[in-house]
Symmetry: C2
Subunit: 209 residues, 2 copies
DNA sequence: CGATAATTTCAGAAATTTCTGAAATTAATA
DNA sequence: TATTAATTTCAGAAATTTCTGAAATTATCG
């Protein structure tokens, strides 16, 4: 590997983190390299920079494309493929979130749905199903939130982030005030999508530490 | 493996997903099993249920403890350890978020900080550093938001989720109205309702491109 | 203390993942 | 169509991770 020290640290770190992020070392390194390169790179430049085999680069670029994390570029009168990452880090974040959801969440959601359709054959199964319903409900709330928020343009999204929990406090206050003239316990906000499966009553009081 | 079919599907799925989630098959299976078990289980019961070696169970439980994902329980006059998961799925979510942040985000944040301290030795390094600064800024915004939001109690957190992006739209509207009497282009977050302190500065305008 | 039970450790076996080099494929050019 | 360049595929080598069984450790009890 032959890179300026500062860039090398970054590339090596991404390589090491790769496995924790569900990609492998080479994929991590290539991504890091493309991310900090001012110009798009072709496969052979990557081979050169990272000191790995041509075929490994090919497969890893393919993987990065499957993740939608790289862009393909072409130069006039040159038929090689050149690769970059999007410039906008917020765009990168969106892609990452989308792809991780697709790989790490959606399959579980669909397995849960399937299992929850079935008739429990015993008391143990009935209990298990109720636990799965709780998990399903939580995941659905999270993904609904995500589906809603992901459509925001960057500036609004950044605003939302910088507000953080402050909104919640605001809401509580508003709710408390509104409820003075209505009921006594506030239940904040409409949009509860209707298809949360039954059965997941209260999260058993036992908050367990 | 000898489990009711419905529970077996769930356990096997968690095993398969394990590698995508940064844990391994056994760890995933054990977690799933504990999660749907009404009573805490001891190591030998897990061995029995999943058909894996005692030592593997021991190591995997250790791993789950390192993740803070299981609770230790004891029965009177029995010196075996029994294991469960917390009842409250929101609590589980918090733990998961915290641990994944610790493993997947914090190390990168600290490497970025270190690299950004250094003096670039070339134009390429200067550019790379600027890219890393963008990444660092984004991660910092996200973790600040997370640090803020994670302290919310469950009910408020759920409220926040169910609101989703609506707040943002609300804010924009409010801002637009407020700005009528001030400047012409709304920059959101300029003025907040009474008890909302001024947020972190600008979201780093430099969205690249 | 010695006996027994529960658990952990760890070297190496087994399984899985990653990586390479050689061959095959694709596509542009003469 | 043959030639050359760019890229991909894939069998097996190399590296890494996971898992096991045997031995070691820890803790409790008589």
């Amino acid at each position: 590997m032959n890179l300026p020290p500062l860039i090398q640290s970054f590339v090596l770190h991404f390589g090491e983190m790769g496995s924790r992020w569900g990609i492998n070392r080479t994929v991590g390194q290539i991504y890091a390299l493309l991310y900090v390169s001012p110009e798009p790179l072709c496969a052979d430049e990557i081979v050169e920079a990272l000191g790995i085999s041509r075929s490994n680069v090919s497969m890893s670029l393919r993987e990065l494309q499957a993740w939608n994390l790289v862009l393909l570029r072409h130069l006039p009168d040159d038929r090689r493929d050149f690769f970059t990452t999007p410039d906008d880090v917020w765009q990168i974040l969106r892609t990452l979130a989308e792809e991780r959801k697709k790989r790490e969440v959606d399959p579980t959601l669909s397995v849960l749905r399937e299992i929850l359709m079935q008739q429990p054959g015993s008391e143990k199964e009935r209990y298990a199903q109720q636990r799965m319903a709780q998990m399903h409900g939580l995941i659905e709330q999270l993904t609904n939130w995500y589906d809603d928020v992901k459509r925001l343009e960057t500036e609004r999204l950044a605003n939302l982030l910088s507000l953080g929990s402050k909104i919640s406090r605001l809401l509580e206050t508003k709710d408390r005030i509104v409820s003075l003239g209505r009921r006594s316990k506030a239940k904040a906000s409409g949009s509860q999508p209707a298809d949360i499966p039954p059965g997941d009553g209260e999260p058993d009081g036992g908050a367990a530490r």
